[in-house]
Subunit: 131 residues, 4 copies
């Protein structure tokens, strides 16, 4: 697996795991219908608690990114991704507002902030070839 966790981070492990899986889907490393490791295996691989993996998978299932089959286990949702919901739009704006405000106060221009966003978006989509 391509997942790297930072156990010192203040970001909860389950949230890091969610992020990494979403990034895996964004980069194309994980495609529709692709299988994910079982809860037990992934927990063992990463050296973390079963409950933690379970929480991440459940969140991703609720959001519509993953599907849980009885026997096939966990797979990336085969029918496509959820789309831009109101909830996501709200979250996006809220977090961007916080970042933009601090960036502006620290002297980052609109152009610099915008280009940073663009650059990160591109990296996220493409920068996964090493895995």
């Amino acid at each position: 697996m391509f997942i790297e966790l930072d156990l010192q981070s203040e970001t909860p492990i389950y949230a890091q795991l969610v992020d990494q899986i979403v990034e895996g889907i964004a980069s194309g490393e994980l495609k529709r219908g692709d299988p994910l490791p079982s809860v037990r295996r992934l927990a063992e691989e990463l050296g973390i608690n079963l409950h933690t993996v379970n929480k991440s998978y459940n969140l991703l299932k609720q959001e519509g990114f993953l599907q849980v089959h009885r026997k096939q286990g966990v797979i990336v949702h085969p029918d496509g991704m959820p789309g831009v919901t109101e909830a996501f739009e709200a979250k996006l704006q809220r977090q961007l507002r916080s970042l933009a405000a601090e960036a502006a106060v620290r002297g980052m221009t609109e152009e610099a902030f915008t280009e940073e966003s663009r650059s990160v978006y591109r990296d996220t989509i493409t920068n996964r070839g090493g895995g």
Copy 2:
């Protein structure tokens, strides 16, 4: 004060307060040297505990946004803001990466994401005072 808190939010109150003050500085509503309410007054105004306000003020002081002036109380740092530190750059990229990945997965294009960032940045530095 212009501060609005969501006491039900999962975002800690002190963090919301930090964000709102930074946004106040970004929008120009708070200028260099401007005084902020005392911890007690702001706490009373917002209906929260003074320690919560204190925590926010202290974080902003550490970051270099605020100064605690003996006698004058807490003021916006008069000598300019901290600038884009490595720590901020790292935080910015980390959070943008997470947002960009989810945006991409949900079908948001690079252009849409970039323009959203630009738009939010603009709103942040202008959309105050008119409300």
Copy 3:
């Protein structure tokens, strides 16, 4: 634990605690990656409030001396210590200047002051564990 607090001192308890932990690291009694007691346990051991311990731990975390490892609790930072920052250099000079001035006025020679510094430095890094 090796920590001794003077609850009557005008030096805040949390600051004494910070000092003692740093001295513990300096003396080698605390090594990289070593675990520290939980805030609750240490607070109980020392007969102080857990928030006071928490404040000390947080300060040391910010400075880069400690790490909060998810699950392992608080540990001495395993990747080495922060190094001589500008902030520390400034603090060092400011405090030394004050001490040196009073020492000089009281008739302490440069040699005496310098040797006192050397002697204290040596004691600090060796005078533990044997006690």
Copy 4:
């Protein structure tokens, strides 16, 4: 006067004032019997409260650095300075220990720390010609 206060510092103003006067004596700028401004005048010059200056003067009088005459006002003690008391020795060691420990942890060698002390002592005694 040669006194510069930092109203943003976490060091109390009265303590800064004490330090500066002691440094003035150490550097020779203030000699035995030299007059100091009246409480009222110095407070006005520095733009601080009467009580603050008073507190500083009283502390310096208690320590034996200053003398207060009925009519002549405040002067540097004409009969020489107090000498190295036990109390000062204790304070010196306590503060040096704290500084030395942090210096050691940050990788400063004994030689570097010792030379820093020597250098600061020298500056304190001589570096006052500009006033």
